[in-house]
């Protein structure tokens, strides 16, 4: 190669550097795509094996553990029994598996919904996380309700409330562990007004209306909040425990 000098050489050098950099990102991008493809292959295969070879996998303790590790790494749900003939009679793992997955969806989302989720949303999330196979799409609301029924034995910490015809709300956090009221109080004292309303909670905390109403009604029932319906726009909820602070402030 001949020696180059001058502006041309600098220009050329710069261009070369850019080309190398481009090539580098291209190779990386390529590799990432390959990896994503392999992840997909893994996912498909694991889902397939989980539903076809469940009992064989269960028998071999060492392999069972390894299978679980693979599922954990790739994000595949090993619980993929179909609704067989026996599950109608309540025998078999189908409804238990569904139960585990239901609680899981609630746990995974309760940081943003406070433990309240509609059965519809629950169902679509559950199906999405269960896998791509077609049979998972066939899970109905009735299946979910049947699965939740099995959790009744834990008391009413996990309940399904009908809200209108064909619509249900799943409440996964028992009142004793529900932090929503604490958040409402924090909001009220933060505002320094000693009152809040549904619209304040929905706009400031990003809650759904149903969550806000639920929390406020609960507080009224518990005697923590007083209802003020004089405001023309919407009902206000006052907290007597904050009156003194507001007056002195």
């Amino acid at each position: 190669m001949r020696r180059r000098a001058g502006v041309g050489a600098i220009q050329k050098h710069r261009l070369e550097q850019e080309k190398y950099k481009e090539k580098g990102t291209e190779i990386q991008e390529n590799q990432f795509q390959q990896m994503s493809k392999q992840l997909e292959v893994f996912r498909e295969n694991l889902e397939d094996f989980a539903s076809k070879h469940k009992s064989e996998i269960k028998k071999n303790a060492q392999f069972r553990r390894q299978f679980q590790e693979m599922c954990a790494a790739i994000g595949v749900d090993p619980l993929a029994s179909g609704k067989g003939f026996w599950s109608v009679l309540g025998i078999g793992d189908f409804y238990y598996e569904l139960g585990v997955q239901i609680v899981e969806v609630c746990l995974a989302t309760n940081y943003k919904n406070g433990g309240l989720i509609t059965l519809e949303e629950l169902r679509s999330r559950l199906i999405a996380s269960r896998g791509r196979a077609k049979k998972h799409q066939d899970i109905t609301n009735e299946d979910l309700l049947a699965a939740v029924k099995k959790l009744r034995i834990f008391g009413n910490g996990f309940t399904v409330v009908p809200i209108s015809k064909g619509k249900w709300l799943v409440q996964s956090v028992p009142g004793e562990l529900n932090m929503d009221q604490t958040l409402v109080l924090q909001k009220a004292s933060g505002l320094g007004t000693a009152w809040v309303s549904v619209s304040v909670l929905t706009s400031d905390l990003g809650w759904t209306e149903i969550r806000a109403e639920n929390a406020l009604n609960h507080m009224v029932r518990e005697g923590l909040a007083w209802v003020d319906s004089q405001e023309p726009k919407e009902t206000l909820y006052w907290f007597p425990s904050m009156f003194a602070e507001c007056v002195s402030a």
């Binding site: 990896m35 292959v41 693979m70 994000g75 999330r125 996380s129 959790l151 028992p174 004793e176």
Partner: protein, 401 residues
């Protein structure tokens, strides 16, 4: 330059004419060659170069098989890149054995350039890159070489996959070896997942491969999935237990429940400590089953096991709230300890309402009130019920007596 071969300008069977251009110079890498001011002809399989008029006459010319080309670039001619691209750079793979003789036996370069006097015709460049991408030569049986007296038959044309040259250098080499690695991985995944026995044999390898892939993907995009539930699922499953207690391993139900209680206690201690010492039983059931994998326990079995937690001296116990909700709570949350810590907090603050305690202790209002009631019941607090609500004060009867 060593990838070029001398051959008569004739199309093979199945080969089609695509495009031609004039006034083309060939560079071997960065070096000039004797091949200037020629004509190029692009086919679905090859690039031909000949002196003006040679190609139409079918005379001997230079030929480059497109399967050598794996990457194309345009290069600007002017100092500041003015006037559009003047040259096409073709990056080439290693020369195949059994190639016809060409103008050079060896070349230090892994690329050649075509320099166009009048600038690169975009249509030509596009046709060339399309032909390279289309890989027409892979789709059909090897082309019969035209048999003539001047060109003795060579060995049948080797295919690209047969390339296994040990010499790997430069970016090309790196790319090829990455590609090969991916191919090998794909291969081993598909072999392992042929059937269950194969997967069991290769389980160890596949476990580390799956972890490897997921770590790489996490590095790149933060997590394996955007779905909250999938992420949470994968987290729960990663806390697996090695040998879940099963009913078959015990002679009686009560022994089974004791074993289960021990296991639940072992795995839940850390979790409970992390989340404030208390957890609803439905959550516990979900976590326990996720850790167990395919060996599910029924809600009934878990409840029975939890009732025996005291028997196995576990640091936690089952508790039923007045509302009916069942929870698992650490023993440090037992009444006496709760009353003690709550009364300390009351003294610190002068008085406490359930709302205030809920914020200080970061528990729900209901639980805070219940804690205050407990404290009152054990005589460590006195209530003051007014229009402003319920407040608790230190029990001075006890403290100052």
């Amino acid at each position: 330059m060593d990838r070029f071969e001398y051959i008569e300008a004739r199309l093979f069977d199945g080969e089609n004419y695509l495009k031609r251009d004039k006034n083309v110079k060939i560079y071997d890498g960065d070096d000039k060659t004797q091949f200037i001011d020629g004509e190029v002809l692009l086919t679905t399989h090859r690039l031909l170069w000949g002196k003006p008029g040679d190609i139409p006459k079918g005379l001997v010319c230079l030929s480059l098989h497109l399967y050598y080309v794996f990457c194309l670039e345009e290069e600007s001619g002017g100092v500041f890149g003015l006037g559009g691209p003047k040259r096409i750079i073709m990056h080439l793979g290693p020369a195949l054995p059994g190639k016809r003789p060409g103008p050079a036996v060896v070349s230090p370069f892994h690329y050649v350039k075509l320099s166009f006097k009048d600038g690169v015709d975009t249509a030509f460049y596009k046709a060339l890159s399309d032909a390279v991408a289309a890989k027409a030569w892979e789709r059909q049986t090897p082309i019969d070489t035209p048999r003539t007296a001047t060109s003795p038959t060579t060995a049948s044309r080797p295919t690209v996959t047969a390339v296994n040259s040990k010499i790997r250098s430069g970016i090309v080499g790196i790319e090829r070896s990455i590609e090969e690695q991916h191919r090998a991985t794909d291969q081993s995944i598909s072999v392992a997942f042929q059937d269950l026995t194969k997967l069991m044999e290769k389980a160890k390898e596949m476990v580390s491969l799956s972890k490897n892939i997921s770590t790489k993907i996490r590095e790149k995009q933060g997590d394996i999935s955007e779905d909250d539930t999938v992420r949470f699922k994968s987290y729960l499953m990663s806390l697996g237990i090695d040998d879940p207690v099963t009913r078959d391993a015990f002679r009686s139900d009560s022994e089974y429940y004791l074993g289960l209680a021990q296991q639940v206690s072992d795995m839940m201690v850390a979790v409970l400590l992390e989340c404030g010492g208390i957890m609803s039983l439905a959550d516990v059931w979900c976590r326990v089953n996720r850790a167990r994998g395919l060996e599910l326990v029924s809600p009934e079995d878990l409840l029975n096991a939890c009732k025996l937690l005291r028997t196995v001296d576990a640091p936690m116990s089952l508790r039923k709230f007045p509302s009916g909700a069942c929870v698992l709570q650490l023993n440090s949350n037992r009444d006496e300890e709760i009353a003690k810590s709550t009364s300390d907090m009351i003294q610190e603050n002068g008085y406490l309402t359930p709302e205030k305690l809920s914020q200080i202790a970061n528990v729900s209002v209901l639980l805070a009130r219940e804690r205050l009631f407990t404290t009152e019941r054990l005589g460590l607090a006195c209530r003051d019920e007014s229009i402003e609500g319920l407040a608790f004060y230190p029990n001075r009867f006890l403290l100052e007596a």
